[in-house]
Symmetry: C2
Subunit: 199 residues, 2 copies
């Protein structure tokens, strides 16, 4: 009833089904603690894009425009949909691309061109004192394949802690996730206070 | 050596591994030929976003801004990466969202708000005379769950046929796919001529 070949194929299948997540989908580090570039992030789950977004009114773009696209590793996404917050080993990737204007048949508005930077926000509770850390990869298509952690004194940490909607992440800008966090009651108290304050 | 439980679990695993694609990842139609809404498209592969893009110089946006996000079913994406063109049963989803300006800590530029429309471009060689068809779903979060095919006389067909980079699709605006199509030699002759023409 079970030939050797059939048994072998069933075992191969079982191994496949039980295989751990692709290495790429959990944070990987060098011996010195640099984050390895998550090379498959474009196949992860997309969360949103911004256009020329800035948290400073004084930012001058001149005529250069920028898109930023946000992706998350699929396991973290699935967990967020169930719970309204991020599990350990979440990786949020912010990809910055320059914006093209007129080109091909496009006459007005902007479409996406070259990648100019990649930043990754990583949750790794055993590794980072505040659970999360930021890593910035070099600009361009020839990005460095590893990046140093930004020091905890960098502005990104204090800004995310003060203003982010969920667990130091800007879920307020992720239109499909904000309703989930709202329904699950996982919005940060600091965010709710900020939203309720008179403008 | 093989208990009943073990054999059952191996079979369950085999069935899982051999299961067809999720129904959502191939086009599904009603008896009358309407396309069913591909409800999981936000978990598909993201291709790009545009901001206020228009193929007409006379388009007036007033103060309303729009993002459009493009997604493709994962099997079609994998095939494109290998071949530089789209397989049968490709579904490209164009999601239109309104653009928010100042909000939360964002001071300038735009982030994504409510979904206002969804259009789907479907390749189904056995069903459509030109291989591809367009379907438009009603605007809003309460989108209709089925949509009629746009008639072949609609402008979208002739415009895509005349100007698209690959197989009537606007790969020229998908920054990670255009280099693949270029390398694989799958760019349409009409697109190459248009790009080579004096401006």
């Amino acid at each position: 009833m079970f030939t050797t070949a059939k048994v072998a194929s069933l075992f191969a299948c079982l191994l496949f089904a039980l295989a751990p997540l692709p290495a790429d989908e959990v944070p990987q580090y060098t011996a010195s603690g640099e984050l390895k570039f998550p090379g498959q992030y474009r196949e992860w789950v997309y969360l949103t894009s911004g256009f020329d977004m800035s948290y400073s009114v004084s930012m001058k773009m001149n005529n250069a425009h920028r898109f930023d696209n946000v992706f998350v590793n699929p396991e973290a996404y699935k967990s967020f949909v169930k719970t309204g917050t991020w599990p350990d080993h979440t990786m949020l990737v912010l990809e910055v691309r320059d914006a093209q204007g007129k080109g091909s048949i496009n006459q007005t508005g902007n479409y996406q061109g070259e990648r100019v930077a990649v930043e990754v926000h990583v949750k790794d509770e055993a590794r980072f004192p505040g659970n999360w850390a930021f890593f910035g990869f070099e600009p361009g298509e020839t990005a460095a394949r590893t990046a140093k952690m930004k020091p905890p004194s960098a502005d990104c940490y204090s800004c995310h802690a003060a203003h982010a909607a969920v667990d130091t992440t800007f879920v307020q800008f992720y239109p499909t996730l904000l309703p989930i966090a709202t329904a699950k009651g996982t919005l940060a108290a600091s965010y709710l206070q900020e939203m309720a304050a008179p403008k």
